[in-house]
Symmetry: D2
């Protein structure tokens, strides 16, 4: 029988921010659809969620391929009996949250980073334009600038001498995303930065 | 006997953001020192806090007069046996939060608003400079841009035809300030905006 | 016999800014290669330049097609015996100017303009990144924000009631581009805006 | 007999940008009123201008003292029979240029520079506000960000090993100010930066 819980789809799940977001939104009462290209990226996250009693479904899909993503969303909807929220259904419901993740390169261009900076600048103004366009219809769009390295296992291992407090904690980022998600519409944040206390900026 | 709880001093308490901040930090476990120029601004906030079982002290002082503020802080310290946090003690403890409140005029100059814009631009870069200077020492400095009208009783009364959802809710702002205050130092936000969903920006 | 004059290639010549730039750089001593998709866009500009005694060659090419543009540059080089400057030759010579034209949408996203804003934001940071990367090698990269309507014949005709002084004059923009081009490397501008005195911003 | 030429007052003349501005505006046809606190700062600039046939008057005044500046302007007006342009006369004439000089600290706060950054941020938005307020009345207000060291004799002497091309040339800055001054009102620049090719930014 289909669950009545709201469904959050996390696209591009890995051992870092994706896993933390899945856990935070599960704790907030959502059924979770995990989407990644490789099944191996999904298994440990799914296991952890299930061990904590959460409702979760893993589906592989390639975010670069529209029909592949569409199939994944269809699979999730059939399983949970409730659609993961996407822009058209958000507009219909007059309600929804879209969180875009930016980076240091969202704020300035630098030598050797023209490629990432052009796409991150474009993403920032896409978020800003969508906020202006869909905000009055109840869709909360926020651009979050993650300025620093996240404490993913691979990042931490690669830099054994580096103080763990100089990495951003992915669970705490997820908490911030959750707080943004539950802001009432009288009091929305549209852009904020996140960085460790020791990060130069 | 002196309380062992941490003390938050709210300077410039009125029926809007100041009252909401006092309530939120009281709920978070702080003893509250309320400071305002006129006793009449303090009484109803003090009463509401006490009715909810919080520890609170009201003191009148003029924020434009250094010795008057110093006296108020002394009074609060004597009563609670614990100092409200200010920058020097924060640096000594390697820990503290300073939240600056900006406005629409923090982001752009406009006709007839040169006066407020110059002071708000200056405040923004003061916050940014302090964040860069004191962040590595454990002091979390954030600049919050409040872009819209707050639902203070007088603002709401003055515009009877205006939808209540087009005002920013002061209790929800206070919740955001609290969330900033409890961010761990691996994951600090240094600037964010707050506005209602219907606000043009 | 081949000319010894420097060659400026103006890509996308029309009756507005392209024509004005061709005239200004011709007046500054450059041989001019005019490039546009349709020959009809080139003829009147070529005629006007020749009547003023300037050296000019028109070539059709499609800027969306790399080999088409390459052919056009080859034709221009054979005719003038001197290559129009492009980035690789600029780096070799330790000298060159690249001017990118932005718009109002380079500065902010707005309802209905997400498409143009994403590409203009990306262009802005591309210019900024190139300035940081190639500036120390002698290449002057500037991003010019044109905020308003240019006085092209078609724009002016379409809005018969509009004051001519509320359009930006394309010849004056071209003068600004020329002044940027001749700035010595001790004193470079990397970004500036241009708008009419009556434009809201 | 009084001159009919326009009068430019340069306040705070020294051997760097002030001297260069005086020379450039004299070359552009203006009578020059030189104002500085100490007569010694004025003599060599006055001599150089007179040797080139320009009309010049030196007056000492303290920019921090309103009546002192007012007296200096009165002296200049009596001598030249024409007032140096200030905002009220600009508004009356529907015409005028005001150029504000910013710095690196106009763009960001940094450790140890909170004092200069707050005043430079305030100056930037004052310029922006004045541009928006007085632009439609014909007053051209521009904010120029000088990001680097100017080649004043004392700066150059103090850093004997530093390449002269890594200093900004004050005469070239003055040329840029002049070009801004003569921009027609269809094509105004409101903000631009100036830095040497080798400057990190």
């Amino acid at each position: 029988m289909a669950s009545k819980k709201l469904v959050a789809a996390v696209v591009g799940v890995g051992p870092g921010l994706g896993a933390s977001l899945a856990k935070r939104f599960a704790a907030g009462g959502y059924s979770i659809g995990l989407i990644a290209r490789k099944e191996s990226s999904l298994q440990s996250v799914q296991r952890e969620l299930e061990q904590n009693g959460h409702t979760v479904l893993s589906v592989t899909a390639d975010a670069g391929d529209v029909s592949s993503v569409k199939n994944a969303f269809d699979t999730i909807r059939k399983k949970f009996g409730n659609e993961p929220e996407v822009l058209p259904s958000m507009i219909k419901n007059g309600k929804g949250t879209i969180l875009f993740t930016g980076a240091t390169a969202s704020l300035r261009g630098s030598v050797g980073f023209a490629g990432i900076a052009t796409s991150k600048f474009a993403l920032r103004v896409l978020a800003q334009s969508m906020a202006r366009e869909f905000g009055p219809q109840g869709i909360h769009v926020t651009h979050i600038i993650i300025d620093g390295q996240i404490n993913t296992p691979s990042q931490v291992q690669r830099q054994p001498g580096k103080d763990i407090n100089s990495f951003i904690n992915s669970d705490t980022i997820a908490e911030t995303y959750w707080q943004l998600h539950i802001q009432p519409r009288t009091t929305w944040t549209h852009e904020l930065d996140i960085r460790p206390s020791v990060e130069k900026f």
